[in-house]
């Protein structure tokens, strides 16, 4: 297990480095630079040159990169080109919101998705299954931004039950935080839940056809015993895989969801960074997001072993 973790950790570091080089190159390859962005539509060549000098952007690209990575390795991620906020501070403010949003979304997807999938599978071909299939198709097809606006109109404006936008820090008021988190979490969870329902349903259907389940039933075990300890473990493996794979997509969804609900999270931070070619912010932001995705996948790999001992044994040989 230790060797496995160590190997994965080294892989993660390598990927992180590649991501940083890639992000830096991409940001520099697209036209426009922070100086032009800061000057806006009144930018002119003279002022762009002036501002580049001021920001240290007149140095050769590799120098800029080496300078940045050198500081980053010492824990100094630099300052935003635009607002001059230290990037660590920006991330420290933004990251909790995105983590909360992703966790709430994931929680909803799992808590709603797995039971719904089980029900659909148990009532295979009957009306609950049909309804679920309809709902999941809608859930997957509905764009985040549209669902978000719809929820704002219904629950924010017409019913006036929940705040239409913004987020209350959890440290300020838990109930305020919870009510401001409901709509964004539902928005981000919709597509995700649909995937979990479908995955659970098909995995469960498959497992129910296996011999060991037939044996369990033949032994006269009550149905709840057949499902929970017996079938569940094997159902969870593919579901877990999907959850792991969807994390990256969830972070992508966070960008749209955060914009609609005016949540100052990582998505908003990175998008604004890209718009302003603020590569210091984008670098750090993407890096954190990439590490997050790598971390979740690592966790998923470890969980495989917990759920299915066969995977752990295979790892050892």
């Amino acid at each position: 297990m230790t060797a496995f973790l160590l190997r994965r950790f080294l892989q993660t570091l390598l990927v992180a480095f590649l991501v940083s080089v890639l992000v830096f190159s991409i940001i520099l390859l697209i036209p426009g630079d922070p100086a032009t962005a800061m000057l806006g539509e009144l930018a002119n060549e003279e002022d762009i040159a002036l501002l580049k000098r001021k920001l240290g952007l007149d140095q050769p690209l590799y120098m800029q990169y080496l300078h940045w990575i050198g500081n980053a390795l010492q824990g100094d991620l630099g300052r935003s080109m635009h607002t001059r906020f230290p990037v660590t501070e920006l991330i420290a403010r933004a990251l909790p919101y995105t983590i909360q949003l992703a966790l709430c979304g994931m929680f909803l997807a799992v808590v709603v998705g797995i039971p719904a999938g089980l029900i659909a599978a148990r009532r295979h071909g009957q009306s609950p299954d049909m309804v679920m299939r309809g709902l999941t198709t809608i859930g997957m097809a509905m764009p985040n931004f549209w669902l978000g606006i719809l929820l704002i109109l219904i629950f924010g404006l017409w019913l006036d039950w929940l705040p239409p936008s913004g987020i209350v820090p959890i440290s300020e008021s838990f109930s305020g935080w919870a009510s401001s988190m409901v709509l964004p979490a539902v928005t981000i969870a919709a597509g995700f839940t649909a995937v979990v329902v479908r995955q659970t349903r098909s995995a469960f259907l498959e497992v129910l056809r296996t011999d060991y389940i037939r044996t369990a039933r033949a032994k006269g075990l009550p149905e709840y015993m057949v499902i929970t300890p017996h079938a569940m473990r094997n159902v969870l493996i593919p579901v877990l895989t999907v959850v792991g794979l969807q994390t990256g997509r969830l972070l992508g969804g966070a960008v749209v969801t955060e914009t609609i609900f005016s949540i100052p999270g990582m998505g908003s931070l990175i998008v604004e960074g890209v718009n302003g070619r603020d590569f210091v912010v984008v670098q750090a932001g993407i890096m954190v997001a990439a590490l997050g995705v790598l971390g979740i996948n690592l966790l998923v790999d470890v969980l495989y072993g917990v759920i299915d001992p066969r995977i752990r044994l295979a790892g050892r040989t």
């Binding site: 036209p31 426009g32 630079d33 539509e41 002119n44 002036l50 300052r79 635009h82 239409p164 005016s262």
Partner: protein, 517 residues
């Protein structure tokens, strides 16, 4: 609905700066104190250092005018009135202005406001490296002399019609010199001024919160120190439809730029006021004159005759779009309805023939991928098609567009401008003078250059108006720039809000604002 009368009075070139008091419609009575005002805007704050921010007309200006103050400002009638200066006098040769400063004012960090502090702030404008986003707006400024503790002399390179209005704009805002020295580069995120509100917190892209300054020098109507409000939160909400919901549910009390589709809802809501702001956005075209085909005047004129501006304004921006020929708002005293162009496809076709393009022309039409540009471009395309000009619309991300516009690598490009301008002269110098830094279309007209130079040094309001008219005629006749139409800006406010005041670029001044219970 709040109606703005012809409130902009003559103030020479400064006329372009609107400073309108909106207290009138909301019934006058005893002011009420306390409360938190939540205001929303779509534009994020770029810097707390006024001379390094680039979004004054968005959220930034609102924060600046709450935290910082200027020597002078412009009132409802467009006249210059004291703020941190008590009085001023223009030298007979027009080459300096002497200001007597208000005594007993301190910055939020306790630093006294005096002649040294004022000189420190104004002299930043001499250093492009320091005041990167503002130095160009003060081309005539030559430095400040301290006469005594509370008297300064602002020196000018030549008589200037730009300097006084300029002092009411971002370069005239006063920050604490102590804070500037102590905070270093953090000054861009921690404003320290003398204004009615003290900076509390800024979460970039999300909100700025401000608290009442308990030691503010100015008195309110009730004989107690201003401001009336305890707290201001300026939130950035990217989606205008969401901002409207926040206003409708009472979670915000003031919202910038109500989208056209929500105007009726706001107008009909008894708890809200729809404010016809003294500002607008002008849509226009650059026809690149660096090379053929647009170096040909007849072709530029053909395009101007080919466009049905009225139809476009009404169809694309119903309820807010209207036609104005030039950069001056109809409410401004120097406004003139002169335009040589009406919608005349036949004349346009005839000019096409004369220009030697009778059998048509293919050009590229570059624009920024944003609203309402993405709706305007196809309309322009359709009108040009009628006279045989085939345009290929290239819709670009903003910075890619700016990159190409800066290097002059385009044929037709669309642009927006927020009005009223801080100073019309500065805009004209930058956008249209042959050596202008943002002369995107590379227009070159000696008569225009001479007229603008004259206007910049002209102090007499009547003569200024004459010159502005002369300039309008030159620009339009020579099709130096092609103006499409404008969109009136509407803001929304809670009916409980009183004492809101507008400054140039449609920025709110909240010093006298109060919320009724």
């Amino acid at each position: 609905m709040v109606q703005i009368g012809a409130a902009l009075r003559r103030s020479g070139v400064a006329s372009a700066m609107a400073a309108l008091l909106l207290a009138a419609p909301m019934t006058a009575g005893a002011v009420e104190r306390g409360g938190k005002l939540v205001a929303t805007s779509q534009v994020k704050v770029t810097s707390m250092d006024p001379v390094n921010g680039n979004a004054y007309g968005g959220t930034e200006g609102v924060v600046y005018l709450a935290v910082y103050e200027r020597l002078i400002r412009q009132n409802e009638a467009g006249e210059f009135v004291p703020e941190l200066a008590e009085s001023w006098e223009l030298a007979p040769d027009g080459k300096s202005i002497t200001f007597k400063l208000r005594e007993g004012v301190t910055f939020h960090d306790g630093t006294p406001f005096n002649a040294e502090a004022a000189k420190f702030n104004l002299d930043r404008l001499l250093d492009p490296e320091d005041a990167t986003q503002a130095y160009r707006l003060y081309p005539d400024y030559a430095g400040t002399d301290v006469i005594d503790d509370y008297t300064i002399r602002v020196n000018l390179k030549n008589p200037s019609s730009i300097m006084m209005p300029g002092l009411t704009y971002k370069g005239g805002l006063m920050m604490s010199p102590t804070a500037y020295q102590e905070l270093g580069e953090d000054i861009t995120r921690h404003p320290v001024g003398t204004g009615p509100f003290v900076f509390e917190d800024w979460v970039p892209g999300d909100h700025v919160s401000l608290k009442k300054n308990p030691d503010y020098w100015q008195m309110g109507e009730d004989g107690e120190p201003l401001p009336y409000l305890d707290e201001i939160v300026v939130r950035v909400i990217a989606k205008d439809s969401v901002a409207v919901v926040e206003l409708q549910t009472g979670r915000s009390q003031l919202t910038k730029r109500i989208p056209a589709e929500s105007l009726e809802d706001i107008r009909a809501d008894p708890e809200l006021e729809l404010i016809e702001a003294p500002s607008a956005t002008m849509y226009r075209l650059y026809l690149n004159m660096r090379q053929p085909p647009f170096d040909n005047l007849k072709l530029r004129q053909a395009i101007n005759y080919a466009l049905d501006r009225q139809a476009m304004a009404e169809a694309i921006l119903p309820g807010v779009g209207y036609v104005q020929p030039f950069i001056l708002l109809p409410s401004e005293p120097s406004y003139w309805d002169y335009t040589p162009y009406s919608y005349d496809p036949e004349k346009a076709q005839q000019l096409m023939n004369e220009a030697g393009h009778g059998d048509g022309l293919d050009v590229e039409f570059m624009m920024i991928n944003r609203e309402p540009d993405i709706q305007i471009a196809p309309a322009v395309q359709a009108f040009l098609q009628q006279i045989g000009i085939n345009t290929e619309i290239v819709s670009l991300e903003r910075l890619i567009y700016v990159d190409r516009a800066t290097s002059g690598n385009f044929e037709i490009a669309m642009a927006q401008t927020n009005l009223p301008l801080p100073t019309a002269v500065t805009w004209l110098q930058q956008q249209l003078a042959s050596d202008g830094p943002v002369n995107r279309a590379a227009w070159n007209n000696a008569d225009f250059d001479a007229a603008v130079a004259k206007l910049a040094a002209e102090m007499d309001p009547e003569a200024q108006e004459q010159l502005l008219h002369e300039i309008q005629q030159i620009v339009l006749d020579d099709a130096g720039q092609t103006f499409l139409f404008a969109a009136q800006s509407y803001d929304g406010a809670s009916a409980r809000l009183h004492g809101l005041e507008y400054q140039h670029e449609g920025v709110w001044r909240l010093t006298d604002a109060w919320l009724a219970d």
